[in-house]
Symmetry: D2
Subunit: 334 residues, 4 copies
């Protein structure tokens, strides 16, 4: 199986889902190796680079793509199997952007208080230990610790329905900036197709991230992602689904956060009904006793929550005819 | 070390935090073995027992306690080390109580739609495999699966401040009905004391529960809990903290759910500052890249979220002078 | 008709709904003239008195009461007709209490930013014009304007159900700190009785207040309130209702604010169904085209919203057998 | 002054803000008389026409426009003075669209309950009394009442920033589907310009609407709107502002609803600071004692709340150099 490599030029970056011409047309079954720029457009390179000087929130999360998938039509299910994610730079960066993040007032949770101090942290990669280094920025304490690299993509999505075009800061029904650590190597992502060609893109690589992405940014970094693209006709999920070797996952996104959680639960109940023929009430009960609910982000235009059921708790079932296992096997051959 | 055993009579059940005379006075350092009734007051024994007939939501989660801890004063930290939780009945029960739960309108998220069908599920314990049995109640599918018993307490709390008395359905600053799977054997719980004697109680045993407690009830069952009680003078946390062998945890409770998450984050930042002397911004950053955020409940009077940091990611530190480890060791001797 | 006068001594102030012995027992049909202290317990008398020095948020909104109403039983409807509210001091006070209010982070909408400047404004009453005087506190501009006195009570409530005791900062199903400008002279308030004797109290006089009470406090002042107390057996509303000469009103209280609004809508639909025998869907439609929805507070433990329908839009109907009109007439004779 | 008339053909309807080519280019100072189709695209003409059969929520609120305003650049302030709104059909229609509205679960406040009954109400206009007729649809009661026509536009907006394209169901920073009764004849609306030409459109006429638009739809109807378009260079407000003869108004839109309210408050504080040079804290205090806060909608993609201050409470000031008064005068001459 061949791999198509693609590194966008700066003028090819997309900052929206929808509204952008495809950078490439591909057939279902294609493997891509994609380079993506970091969320800050490579403007923060040292602790003296500050977001308030260099980051324009209308143009963050530059996307690699969109890709036009031949044959994809509204109502189909786009399948993106994440084969590998490898940091493409020797350091990652995080920033407490003024009036952005979970523990500060924002333009929407609008208050009158002053901003928190604009601060940048640089995390050098130690390849030998596969870690990134956290170092304090304030003199109160001198702590330097190594944290394991756990690569993930903040942003994976398709063009929205109804002619909408949404910023790459937005997580929604079409995927987008979900900022969930569940989007990691080995994941298969299922997205409903809304427009001809699906027009998917990805970006916003994180070398690691806590659940909730409290300060608004992860350890952000350029990433090389290998992904296999497939298409299932006529099987669009209502909200993004993910599959791991050991778990089924749905990502719900809305505000307030309980609505993100509700969306994820209702979609997972639907999935359990599809897999096992359960009555809605039995699926509700089964989910109630088995779900994990790790928060994804509480900082973006919508908040996102994962609803996750470990397969070992459920009877055996092949979601989407076992395509996740097939792609896992195929990935080994790349 | 002796263990004081206590099983309340029915007229000793408490249904509030605060407002109830203590059932017993104990010294710090006491180990208790406590029997607690199930959340439904043992009214649901078979699938034909329905919540709408038998459950009065003003009187659920009967508490065992409260216990008056000698020497406890406002501003102190009550320490409850959960040595063991053992199901005290051969079956657990779950119910989709009409207009109660996460995926139905309620008296507060008030809507005009009809209730979901009032349904009861009974989970028989299989001691050989240490599992409870889920069985479908609707004819659409016949599924019977065994789920591992993972005992926890839904409700652990002290009397509230300011003279308030709160229902045992409420999770708050004083603990209460947090419904988090993190409250399990091996946990040490730290609660701020608000009144003389602390007046803690516990109950609402769950044989297992998913994160969020989607349908509003777990696999509810009578429980025998062994707990060692300690007291640290003058060290009250603002919100409930938990310690596991491998993690530090805070439980925030409020509505909307993002506020529960924010509370947990801010309290964890405070804890990290206490342990490592960090500036608030450095603690914010460190938390952002290391926290787990498993939702606890989205069904109670407040919603609850856990914020959790695994110790392996942090420099060694002895929270509360290492009392968790000491109590773990002591528990081995019981 | 006689009027019973009552001015509490300082040690008679109540700071909770429930949990307090009655100061007096009265018969239905009694008129009371009640003096109430201001929300700050008279601690802020000049602009140099700051809330951070002098206000303890656990002990604000001192209540005058509770009053035990003979014959009142759970399920009954307590009727409080507000005959008159007269400022009982020559000035009112407002304060931007640190970390309290609608445009600042709080202990629940927890963030890391510094507090806003602790500031006190004093509003002198001009009796000739029936106004209070706003004067700027910061040098940026010198503005002094007279605002009409529009007296109202922030807090009117009964003891909660289920043995709960709630702070006088809390608005809920039992009334309490609703902080709505609709609670004004000429209003009749209908509250469901939860305990024998109802145990109602009132306080938190406002010389005027904007909708939402943005900064967390109104023009707070001691108040003399004349109220006629009546009782309707067996007619408890689920949430507080108000009647004006020209309108029917419900006050819903919860978080997030959309739930306060939903509660008010559902209760108003119930009221319209009671008055006119409408199907729920027709009442929903009628309400949709006729309701006003002035926000009450976005700063208290729950947020409150009024749902209001002007009588002139509806067919004639006598709510509660016309008791509002009867009490209005009776009030003229006082 | 001439009036340019425009009635779109069906294939000219726009269903988004942004992403659509202008139907016309106009100079600032132009008066337009615009016909707009009803929110349902004229598909509901009788009570037997049901939304579930005939309404596609991706294509509602057909917009008349967009109009390219010569000289308008990002950062400018578009001024739309609403001279007149006249119903353009002999009846209006309202519908309880399944899973849409404030008192039902929706695709976002996702629950498992069945939908409310899909119901359509038709309101015939009585020109003699200037009323629309409400008539019950269910047999429980037979009520027919006349409600005053109070025409307003649900939807007035410009193209969003950052290349986004948003559905005409969305209220946001750019205006859009705010569904506020404050957008009525005599209002002047100020919107920040985000793209060259501003590209404003309007539609979604309501013959009347309650605050909150509880069931999700108003008395919807085709409308003829006369509007004068002006432009102020470099004076973009952050959120939509409105001016009436007697009041200043801001419309905030977000979820949860308290954030919509916060946005409106912060923007109004900014406006008061602009007009009077006040320190932020003094403007906060002044607003707290003077604002009205009538909810606009609790049913759209964002919820909207108006923050309103009556001019009679404030010192005289000419917002935007008194353009509202000038346009009111000019409107008389049309």
């Amino acid at each position: 199986m061949d791999i198509v490599e693609f590194t966008p030029t700066r003028d090819q970056y997309a900052y929206t889902f929808g509204g952008v011409a495809p950078v490439m047309r591909i057939q279902p079954g294609t493997a891509l190796r994609l380079w993506s720029e970091d969320a800050f457009n490579d403007t923060l390179k040292s602790t003296s680079d500050l977001a308030s000087d260099k980051v324009d929130l209308r143009y963050v999360n530059p996307q690699t793509g969109p890709f036009y998938v031949e044959g994809a039509e509204p109502g189909d299910c786009l399948v993106l199997h994440m084969v590998d994610m490898t940091p493409a730079r020797s350091y990652g960066v995080s920033s407490a952007i003024p009036f952005f993040g979970g523990l500060t007032s924002t333009d929407r949770t609008a208050m009158l208080q002053d901003a928190l101090p604009d601060t940048t942290w640089v995390y050098e990669i130690d390849s030998a230990t596969n870690t990134v280094g956290f170092a304090t920025r304030f003199a109160d304490a001198d702590m330097q610790i190594a944290l394991p690299i756990e690569p993930m993509l903040g942003t994976v999505g398709v063009a929205p329905p109804g002619g909408e075009v949404r910023s790459s800061l937005v997580p929604e029904r079409f995927g987008g900036n979900m900022d969930t650590p569940e989007m990691k190597p080995g994941s298969t992502c299922y997205l409903g197709v809304n427009v001809e060609g699906a027009l998917f893109s990805l970006g916003d690589g994180h070398y690691r991230q806590g659940e909730g992405e409290s300060c608004g940014t992860a350890v952000e970094g350029a990433m090389t992602t290998t992904v296999i693209v497939e298409l299932i006709k006529g099987a669009a999920p209502a909200w993004p689904r993910l599959e791991h070797d050991d778990a089924l996952i749905v990502i719900g996104s809305s505000r307030p956060m309980e609505d993100a959680w509700r969306i994820g639960n209702v979609e997972m109940i639907r999935w359990l009904q599809e897999l096992y023929g359960l009555h809605q009430m039995d699926a509700y009960q089964l989910l109630s006793q088995t779900s994990k609910a790790p928060i994804a982000n509480v900082v973006d235009a919508n908040y996102s929550t994962a609803i996750k059921v470990h397969k070992e708790l459920l009877p055996a079932a092949d979601a989407y005819s076992g395509i996740h296992q097939s792609l896992r096997a195929l990935a080994q051959s790349l």
